[in-house]
């Protein structure tokens, strides 16, 4: 026996036997081998011993007064806390019947008395090992269960984060849309304010002319309508003015005025420059030759001026019509653009029309110096998410204009071939360098200054095209320009 070693017991064993000599024998055999041994001399004592001290193994006599071994075993097996403790029956009974019963109540082994110490020990070792393995498995199981709980918690947290990220992404996309819309609106305000200005001024002019007309009625009645020549001049002027449909550019008007002034001076007609001015206003053009004789009348200038008021009402009215058309076009385009697909369903879309809608809204930016070339083929209607397709064209055109710094050429080409619609946008901008080319569709990747672009534009474009099961190709050359080509299936 070694004094300086405190050995950890190889196991904790409970020995149950009503015969003291048997107990003593077993205790000795087992403790010599290093087991911690406890004893009980009856079934009930065994049950209480187990409660205070959970053994790894129980050696159980069968024939005992009071509760016999079988009963004790059954009690132990019935209790959740003790049912896993292996029980080895030790008994003088040697009948098969007894052994079968022993195993059926839950015993793991059966040793007949008288026994060999070695046999007992060997079986004890086996069952203690089994018990240890079982304990290890149980511990491992508990550990695994814990890990599963933790993993589940982590998964929930991740799920939550994913939901938050999705919601943030959606918000960012909405913000991007609003920002793009905000930029458009500045240009659109101009496109609407301009016609409004023309309308307001035209109406002022109409009212002023009308006032003058009323004021001139007496003169009309007395000196113009009473004289055939003057009446002829007056009515001819009005007829010619309403017959002309052509609108001249300011350059053409200037040239015409000069010519008229020259001609009238040559004919020694008074007030040549005023007349030239007024006749040009009334769109007389080349048609006034036959009026020449009447223009020599001393009242000619006054008659022409009076006629001018009538023509002014006509001119300003058609001006208003043009202005209203212009403003309507812009508003219509805006409505189409901002139309929200509440249904979230696809609709049949005329893709050429959708491009034109976006172009109208960008007219303001385009007219700053971009030439737009259109090579359109007739396209069939395509099933699309209308709202989102508009977004794609918007982002691409916006990028193209910026790349060209609003001066250059934008070529739009549509092709219909083999069940596919191919739409390409080519700009003459700065192009995309090779090292960046792979990254342009990455979310948040941008080459613009902070605040100028969110970097989501092309990411959004790609997502939308993916949603339509389409394809995007990019061709680019630094210093030359970039082409974005979209392939969409007719579905």
């Amino acid at each position: 026996m070694t004094n300086n070693q405190i050995k950890t017991p190889k196991g904790n064993i409970l020995v149950v036997d009503d015969t003291p000599e048997n107990l003593y024998l077993l205790i000795t055999i087992l403790s010599e081998q290093g087991y911690e041994v406890h004893s009980a001399n009856s079934g009930s004592q065994a049950l209480s011993a187990v409660r205070s001290n959970s053994p790894d193994l129980i050696l159980l006599d069968i024939t005992m007064p009071g509760m016999d071994g079988y009963e004790t075993c059954q009690c132990l097996k019935a209790n959740e806390q003790t049912r896993d403790i292996p029980i080895i029956f030790i008994s003088a009974l040697n009948e098969t019947f007894g052994k079968i019963k022993a195993f059926s109540v839950g015993g793991v082994d059966y040793i007949t008395k008288p026994f060999q110490a070695k046999e007992v020990l060997v079986r004890v070792v086996t069952h203690i090992n089994l018990r240890n393995v079982q304990k290890q498995l149980e511990a491992k199981n508990v550990q695994l269960q814990q890990e599963i709980v933790e993993r589940k918690r982590a998964e929930e947290a991740l799920q939550k984060t994913l939901t938050e990220l999705r919601s943030t992404q959606f918000q960012l996309i909405q913000a991007e849309k609003l920002a793009a819309l905000g930029q458009l609106i500045a240009g659109i305000a101009h496109e609407i304010n301009t016609p409004l200005g023309a309308i307001r001024a035209s109406i002022d002019n109409i009212l002023a002319s009308y006032k003058d007309m009323i004021a001139s009625l007496p003169q009309l009645a007395q000196s113009i309508f009473t004289q055939e020549n003057r009446l002829k001049l007056f009515t001819s002027l009005l007829e010619k003015a309403s017959a002309t449909k052509i609108n001249l550019t300011s350059k053409e008007k200037r040239t015409l005025k000069r010519q008229l002034r020259q001609k009238l001076s040559n004919e020694h007609i008074e007030g040549a420059s005023t007349l030239a001015d007024t006749l040009t206003y009334m769109k007389m053009g080349e048609n006034f030759e036959d009026l020449l004789p009447w223009l020599k009348d001393k009242e000619a200038v006054s008659i022409v001026k009076t006629a001018r008021n009538f023509v002014s009402i006509q001119n300003n009215s058609s001006n208003i019509t043009l202005a209203v058309d212009k403003a309507s076009k812009v508003v219509f385009a805006l409505r189409k653009f901002a139309h929200h697909d509440i249904s979230g369903e696809k609709a049949e879309l005329d893709l050429t029309d959708s491009i034109e809608t976006v172009l109208t809204l960008y007219y303001n930016q385009i007219k700053q110096g971009t030439e737009v070339v259109k090579q359109y083929q007739t396209l069939p209607l395509v099933w699309c998410y209308t709202d989102e397709i508009h977004q794609v064209w918007t982002n691409i055109i916006h990028n193209a204009l910026q790349a060209m710094d609003y001066k250059g050429k934008l070529t739009l080409k549509t092709v219909y071939s083999q069940d596919q619609v191919i739409i390409s946008f080519t700009d003459t901008g700065c192009g995309i360098p090779d090292d960046i080319k792979e990254r342009i569709f990455e979310p948040f990747f941008t080459t613009k200054e902070r605040g100028e672009g969110s970097g989501l534009g092309l990411d959004i474009v790609k997502k939308i095209i993916d949603k339509h099961q389409g394809k995007i190709e990019v061709e680019t050359e630094v210093g030359k320009g970039t082409t974005f080509r979209f392939f969409l299936n007719i579905k």
């Binding site: 305000a189 101009h190 307001r200 001024a201 002019n205 202005a323 007219k367």
Partner: protein, 131 residues
């Protein structure tokens, strides 16, 4: 023929037509009224008028035009003809451009579309008084 001119520059014909008629009606035959649809044409018109010994007194110009914008146009005009009174009539405010025109073209005023006849005429009258 008068030898004092007012020049209007705007790329939208509907604006030019109504604007010129408005000015003519309010300011009368004292002045010649000329129009141009681009900054480039504006330069041409000024040259022609100068050749005809006509003084260009005031320019009313839009800002957002194809090619050269209004502020650049007025600045260039001011460099060559510092005596001309410059007014911008625009549908869209670009603060930078207006500031530049004020500093480098001695911009007399900036009016926004849609404009009121009163405001425009008043502005031109005060501009003319400066001369």
């Amino acid at each position: 023929m008068s030898n004092r001119a007012i020049l209007c520059v705007d790329d939208e014909a509907i604006v030019l037509e109504s604007l010129v008629e408005q000015l003519e009606k309010r300011l009368g035959e004292e002045y010649i009224y000329e129009t141009a649809e681009t900054a480039e044409e504006g330069f041409e018109v000024i040259e022609e008028l100068v050749n005809d010994n006509v003084d260009v007194l005031i320019i009313v110009s839009d800002w957002l035009m194809p090619g050269m914008k209004g502020d650049e146009f007025l600045i260039k005009v001011h460099q060559k003809f510092p005596g001309i009174v410059n007014v911008m009539l625009t549908g869209q405010a670009d603060e930078e451009a207006i500031k530049r025109a004020k500093n480098l073209a001695n911009l007399h005023a900036c009016i926004f579309k849609p404009w009121s006849e009163e405001e425009l005429v008043e502005t031109i009258k005060t501009g003319l008084r400066k001369l």
